[in-house]
Symmetry: D2
Subunit: 416 residues, 4 copies
């Protein structure tokens, strides 16, 4: 399935990093944040942002934001400004609601009575509309349509702003979690700590990694004393590219405080009794990178297992098994293995098609998916093809693909 056609919103990636031990750190926090976001780029290519903190009292925050891919959004001269920072959070945005504008780019930073907080968020609040109204009734004007601004204002709003030296952010976060049960994986940075939060249903993923010396990355003996810093990310696939070891997932409803002294679970907000966790199935199906680990299992392996199951539940009389590249490939390989049918590639994808400007009502409009997929005719001409797609919601994409394969010589195309 084409993600763009799914109508499923708020992919997005969040990433945070806190240097461990004595500050100022030797760790390249700014670059770790950048590379971490690059590894989450598949979760959002619309815009990218980083907010860092020196962690001093008072802290200095630095914000980088830009449209497009991480490598486009941040320029070398901007990244140079991120030297001497000790912690930070970042975000890659997949534009769903609202227009693609720099002002919708996360993390969102606001100044509160207690100083600045920065918020990065993946998810969609189920009751966003009611919450917007509530916040506005309180007299707050909202300058964007994003849930992130809403979350930030909710954090600032309740409980009432006490004029204390150390505000009770945990109480505020818990209050937020009461107001809106799902869905969000959230990073909140305040001065020298990051609060990493998953909603009580655990709908969106959030994993913690531990930065160790590269030399000890693959040895089992890298103990706690070797910890150079902590990272928290939408997906564990980002850990390997920055030299972090997978540590654990943030649990549904958990609020983890990450500081230079390490991790501390501040609270675990429970679900309504009887409600099961509700991890987003589409993470397994196509959001996530196949080498990421959720709930103890590699995404690739889950996808492959789905393919095997499919072959058992829906055996087909066919000649070959294939995939709509590329998130469906593990499932297709699983189907092939289980069914004993040979796996072949039938489509070649042009990843550069993007938003080519084509005038409406022209000859070229009729060509549809042929602009994006080329047929590898030799592999399936005269054959019956089982074609595995990652999911079929509206079928807008798969129907023309079937047509394309038939026109190119497939005698039959069965699609799952």
């Amino acid at each position: 399935m084409e993600f763009e056609e799914s109508g499923i919103g708020e992919e997005c990636g969040v990433f945070g990093c806190v240097a461990a031990g004595e500050w100022p750190t030797q760790l390249e926090v700014g670059q770790i944040l950048t590379l971490g976001l690059v590894a989450l780029q598949h979760r959002g290519q619309e815009s990218a942002g980083i907010v860092t903190s020196t962690g001093a009292n008072p802290p200095t925050y630095t914000t980088l934001k830009g449209m497009g891919l991480v490598n486009t959004a941040f320029k070398p001269e901007d990244l140079a400004k991120l030297r001497n920072v000790n912690l930070g959070i970042g975000h890659t945005r997949y534009s769903t609601t609202g227009i693609s504008e720099l002002q919708n780019c996360q993390p969102f930073v606001v100044d509160t009575l207690h100083g600045k907080i920065a918020v990065a968020h993946n998810g969609e609040l189920v009751n966003a509309s009611a919450l917007r109204k509530k916040v506005m009734r309180h007299g707050v004007g909202l300058s964007t349509s994003s849930d992130s601004e809403l979350i930030t204002q909710l954090l600032a709003l309740t409980p009432p702003m006490e004029e204390l030296d150390t505000p009770d952010w945990v109480a505020r976060i818990k209050n937020l979690m009461t107001e809106t049960p799902t869905s969000y994986s959230l990073l909140v940075m305040y001065k020298d700590v990051i609060y990493a939060v998953r909603d009580p249903y655990g709908n969106r993923p959030l994993s913690i990694g531990r930065l160790v010396p590269i030399s000890k990355l693959h040895s089992s003996g890298a103990g706690e004393t070797d910890t150079e810093g902590w990272v928290v990310s939408s997906e564990s696939c980002s850990f390997q590219s920055i030299g972090a070891k997978y540590y654990r997932e943030v649990q549904p409803g958990e609020i983890v405080q990450i500081s230079k002294n390490g991790l501390k679970t501040l609270s675990v907000v429970p679900r309504p009794e009887g409600d099961p966790p509700a991890f987003c199935i589409f993470e397994y199906v196509y959001f996530a990178r196949p080498d990421s680990i959720f709930e103890g299992q590699m995404v690739y392996t889950v996808r492959q297992r789905c393919g095997r199951e499919l072959a058992i539940e829906a055996p087909t009389d066919a000649d070959v098994v294939s995939t709509v590249p590329e998130s469906a490939t593990p499932a297709a390989l699983g189907y092939a293995k289980q069914s004993g049918l040979p796996y072949v590639e039938v489509l070649c994808k042009n990843r550069y098609v993007g938003r080519t400007f084509i005038q409406p009502n022209t000859r070229l409009r009729q060509l549809g998916v042929a602009k994006k997929f080329g047929a590898l005719t030799d592999n399936f001409a005269g054959k019956r093809v089982v074609l595995i797609d990652d999911s079929i919601v509206r079928g807008n994409t798969i129907s023309p693909i079937i047509k394309l394969l038939k026109e190119a010589g497939a005698t039959e195309v069965k699609c799952f």
Copy 2:
């Protein structure tokens, strides 16, 4: 005096336009806003913004913002989006506080319980710091350091958000004026009207103009029935470039509602008893364009009169009178006329110098004002020069200019 060195903040220009009579209008509101801002460009070159409304119920707002001059900030394809709008407000920003970023660019738009409002503002709130604290204590997070966001949030905040069909904006604006007495000239757009507001002290300028058919622009007989629309602007100098007749100033403390039906004074908030109005003297001295009219007098004429006064109060034995181009030229001409001394030009200004990147600690740094001003030696070599500057605050610029003139042959330089 160099404005950049004055430390005086918030120049900025605001401009609004409402088409009169039946909507949809034939008036090119988008282009009038653009040209109006171009005419106020001397008040701010950092960024520019326009927010328009269809005025329908509900209205559609369109926002254009960009860094730099108006002609750079708005692209033709963006301006094309402003067709079919019936009213709008705009802003040119001179960056004072806060960094130069798109997110600080005005007008500021927020969504409230009653729908979106757009705010453009020229001035500096005397009690901004206390107001920020007040707003944040209420639980509002502020995402910029600008007074405009603060004003917008204050408008949304009090009185408490009633859930009425027609919110009482006048009460809200009056409340704002109670909270902060000065300084602001303010345009607030809501659906199909613009509220034009000057603070009770009348610190910043705001004038109203009437759009008439070009053919009747210079006839005295263009009556009310010929009104094509209304404009409101920081300075009346913008009226001629869009075909508007000068109508009147918004009075100190006045709240004027501008709609397609014309003007209506909704309230005039008084000053504390005994307090005189306090129009910003620097508007006369160098902010304003010389052809603008404030308090019934042309700025040029006021400047010239100052020069005459100076010649009376401080007569000098000299050979020639001159100016530091160019805001001081009327005063220098006035001084010359009054004193009987000949007026000559002694300096030639390079207006392209701008922010040329020069490495510190180099030979070129020592050259100072010579990068900006060339000496017209023939006009003053061997002569005693009276040099009129618009104002001398810190003297950072004038001292090296005096040095430059002496090195170029002036026997004496007296500077006012």
Copy 3:
């Protein structure tokens, strides 16, 4: 193998289109050129250019050029300028020699005694250095380091410029082919025709397609009378995305004239006696898109056959066969099929890594390929892996990949 590390130059793609029949054409030539280049984007992402002609006498040429991908390089408002054109050529550039600058972007257009010619070129002249010297000795100053400018100047230079109405371009092209035997696939546009040329060795690919009504695209009965236009492209994979049928390849040494009246072979320049054709092997190995057809065979099929051959020539005792994604995948599948070993995926590629700015001498530098490839551990942990890469030249990339797989649990990695 990483292409960037191969040192093999001048990938690039060329594409041309001529509308058939009466002019002005209804064919969207500008958009066909754009989409054609998008389909050749894998051959060069550095810059893109299009030059079109009205084909009138005298013709009007329009040039679009920009850095980056086709979709970035050409803006919608630029493409709008390409209406009412009847023919054109385009180019996607992979920067090899010379810096990445707009001025190196092709097609190259020069004005000659006979009017403007436009040249797009894929290849590298074996004797470029000697030819540059020859051209410069003649007194021509060369403004770029590109072969394309050299070719263009050579075409203008000899034979001596006769002042005829119709210059003998064929003689000039033949002369060029005498001067430099290889390698180039060349499009030369002059007024209303395109000359499509392959060097005598046929080193670089060049194929011709026929534009037919979309409705007849897949029927075998689309006769000559249905021809809407002609396209010529580095690879036939571009044909399907614009609705063209594969027609034939330009032959080694052939000069084909493409006009609104169709194709005409003007000359076939022979190779030195005894010399075989020398089609670039790297086109099969990794330059070309797998669904392209060269010499009558689909690239994918050739790659797969290579994998089978490898399995015969180099059988290995192993548990699984895999690929370095993605150009080696057909070969890996071929090896697996032939050897009977199971095919699995072991690496997940992050295609967004690109030119991330990383400071030298840092912890992150050590991570190497881990920034680009994630290990799909479940698929190979504890197993012996046969890893197929498309080619191994210097081994800069493959060694760290092997290390990565071993660290992730492979007991053995054999690499081809």
Copy 4:
């Protein structure tokens, strides 16, 4: 007169700098070039370029080019590349012929048999069309429509390219001067020298300055031994902003070689017998900055003298004298002084108007010059005005200005 309406082409500015004495130099050559061009910015705002040389054997050339003002065209990170250079030439371009594109931006650099030369040029070749044909007949393809490329190719072309170690550039330049008598002020950089050339008629200006220690800039005793470098510029106004003393003009027909060892006149090509020099009158009238010196006289003084002459030749019965700002101001002051009439300002110019995008056929189109000039009514209402413009060619601008002044209350406007 509006320069844009004059149809007079090729304003442009050229600037060169060579560090004196031992190399590598301590002189900031890159920054001197930049500031020098900023001082010539009034001669061209379309694009800017710099080419520098290390002067080593072989030399390394660095090219910076960009659209717009110098400060926009060159970014700080680009300028940083110009460290460690010993000489260079630059150009600001006023687009006349040809489109505004980066490829037309000067200096033009070409590779010749003897290595690269860089050429910057101000002027228009009288016989450009014939020369283009000549060059093209020789077999050279021209890639732009600019005279600069033509000059560069002519320099490469004749005399025939000898394969010597030290090519005879002087012979080549002299040959060029034979081919085309006017108009050009030319800088040719080759390895470690700059050739500064004025055409035999001396149509365009070119002056030489001497860089001395800032401390000795205004002392008369700065002897030859204090020379830090040499600069050559279209106008001497640039000297003061970089700390150079005016030295002398390049003479009509003179070829001056500038090297680290100083100046050397290599040749003076004579005019046809009987022909007088023909310095461009428009330099005095409005091209040049008033503080520049040509033929021993300050431009400002010449303009003022013209005003006095005008008052003698064309005395008028009027109340006030004024100017169309701003190049006509010296003449107006001269007229006023001579005639005894008072000088006043009547127009206020908005320098930001630029290329505001206005749709055709709209109300705003009719406003004409009112977008650009505001009337300072108080200064002329009810009076007869003598209005001095720098020159009146087609009268496109002056007529509407007269109309504007009359509508604003002038009883009579006499215009020169």
